[in-house]
């Protein structure tokens, strides 16, 4: 590797910055606190695990390759600001300890470490993760603040929202031109596209995921009746869709290596996200969808590699 070029993981970290800045602008300094706590916990967990595994001499190289920092940024951006320092520390420790170093460290893990940590705290501390703070009032178009429930949790709890309820609720989504979290989603999508065009990430994964989510959104959308499952726009620009599509699902270690495998993986993540959002108990199913698709990755790799050779050898 040439010395001047930034490592891939650092490039991805850098690409997360614009979206992170917009989230900070919307939600205040809580986002920065999340980032600092997560970064510190991840780097310390990484160093501790390497020491325990007797790989202490690698600490310097591993801490500077950016992979622990990327996990930290993903966890920090996925967790709501103000969810508590303990939650972040637990998420980071589980992500790197159990999700990565138990498997032997970088490049060996089966599951996306950030999502292992996030899903673990999601089921352990549901209350701390359920509420996002209101968007800072000066950006909310004269309203004092936005509702604490996110649009996806309202849809899960009330089994659908009508379009007028959606408009009245002022969730900060679905109103381009106002100020809301869709701008952060757009920023993540834009920097993700840049990475995809530079071939830093496998473009088929986000393409498949967004395609499946859009198609499922169109099929399930009935024009906004009381049990509507949400328009494709809501599904694409709310929750963590764009962040997950470009930065989480695209972890090269945990998605299939072949082109066909990457399409199938992306489609699977999109479909599962839609199903979990629409029918399961958790408002946003992306973390689970990614982990479930990760479960299928070794099988997809195995099956597709075999069919490419022709399968005759081990019939």
């Amino acid at each position: 590797m040439r010395r001047q070029r930034l490592g891939i993981q650092w490039q991805v970290c850098l690409a997360l910055a614009p979206g992170g800045l917009i989230l900070t602008w919307l939600f205040g300094t809580g986002v920065i606190v999340n980032l600092l706590v997560a970064a510190l916990s991840c780097l310390m967990t990484e160093a501790a695990c390497l020491t325990l595994a007797g790989r202490g001499q690698q600490i310097r190289a591993r801490l500077s390759d950016g992979s622990a920092m990327l996990t930290a940024m993903l966890i920090a951006l996925a967790l709501p600001p103000g969810c508590g320092i303990g939650v972040i520390v637990v998420a980071c420790a589980l992500a790197l300890g159990l999700g990565k170093h138990a498997y032997g460290g970088i490049g060996q893990n089966l599951f996306n470490p950030a999502m292992v940590g996030y899903a673990a705290v999601l089921i352990s501390f549901p209350a701390a993760l359920a509420t996002w703070p209101p968007v800072a009032s000066e950006f909310a178009n004269g309203v004092d603040g936005l509702s604490g429930a996110t649009i996806l949790s309202s849809m899960t709890n009330e089994h659908g929202l009508t379009l007028s309820e959606l408009a009245a609720g002022d969730y900060g989504v679905g109103q381009f031109g106002g100020l809301g979290v869709e701008w952060a989603a757009l920023a993540f999508a834009a920097s993700g596209l840049v990475l995809a065009l530079r071939r830093t990430l496998a473009w088929r994964v986000p393409a498949g995921m967004l395609l499946a989510l859009t198609i499922a959104g169109f099929v399930g959308f009935d024009g906004g009746s009381s049990n509507s499952l949400g328009s494709p726009m809501i599904h694409l620009f709310s929750g963590g869709t764009m962040l997950a599509a470009f930065f989480v699902a695209t972890d090269p270690v945990t998605h299939p290596s072949s082109a066909r495998g990457q399409w199938l993986f992306g489609l699977l993540v999109g479909l599962l996200t839609y199903l979990i959002r629409s029918y399961a108990a958790y408002p946003d199913g992306i973390a689970f969808a990614v982990l479930l698709a990760n479960c299928a990755t070794p099988w997809l790799n195995r099956t597709l590699a075999r069919s490419r050779v022709g399968g005759a050898a081990d019939a």
């Binding site: 498997y103 199903l275 689970f288 479960c295 099988w299």
Partner: protein
């Protein structure tokens, strides 16, 4: 029809026998070392699961209930399961000796797979109809086979990983199973 499809999918994924109800863990860990063994094991277990559930249903409703002997159901079901496994083994030996040899020890071990007994008991306790019992058993078989195949493929990959000595082998397999179970928790609440 819709209801049956929902029952099938809910049993296979939402209430997956292995990852959500933690049944049948011994064959799940024991036979997932190689992918090919795992798929044969999945198929054989699916066969036994479905037939044992059907036979249990018949015996429970035509013998035990009329004679007021429902309290004997656990013993009765265990006998039925053992007989089904024995019959499966004899059938397999005469139809395909090669497959019989390949499955070897794992075939009789299905008797002690708690998922088989649990399925028969749960189906009876939930007072499912005959058709529902079949669908329930097929869903459980589907869920068991899919999860076992995915787990075996995952283990073949982690075997090559450079895991720390404390985790290499079965501990890492259990960590993988735990994270898979974590992932399957995402289905919670579906189909209710």
């Amino acid at each position: 029809m819709n209801e049956l499809l929902l029952l099938l999918l809910a049993t296979a994924f939402v209430n997956n026998f292995v990852l959500a109800q933690f049944l049948g863990l011994c064959p799940f860990v024991g036979t997932s070392g190689r992918f090919d063994t795992a798929t044969s094991m999945g198929l054989a277990t699916a066969f036994v699961l479905t037939f044992a559930a059907l036979l249990s249903y018949a015996v429970y409703h035509s013998v035990l209930l009329p004679l007021d002997l429902a309290y004997l159901r656990i013993i009765a079901f265990i006998v039925i399961i053992a007989a089904t496994v024995q019959a499966t083994e004899m059938l397999l030996r005469s139809i395909s000796p090669i497959l019989h040899t390949a499955m070897g020890l794992y075939l009789p071990l299905i008797t002690s797979n708690c998922a088989v007994l649990a399925l028969a008991l749960l189906a009876v306790d939930a007072q499912l109809s005959l058709l529902q019992t079949v669908v329930y058993a097929l869903g459980a078989s589907l869920g068991f086979s899919i999860v076992l195949a995915l787990f075996a493929a995952a283990r073949e990959r982690t075997e090559q990983a450079d895991a720390p000595a404390a985790f290499a082998g079965v501990p890492l397999a259990l960590v993988t199973a735990g994270i898979m179970s974590l992932a399957f928790m995402g289905f919670k609440g579906m189909g209710t």
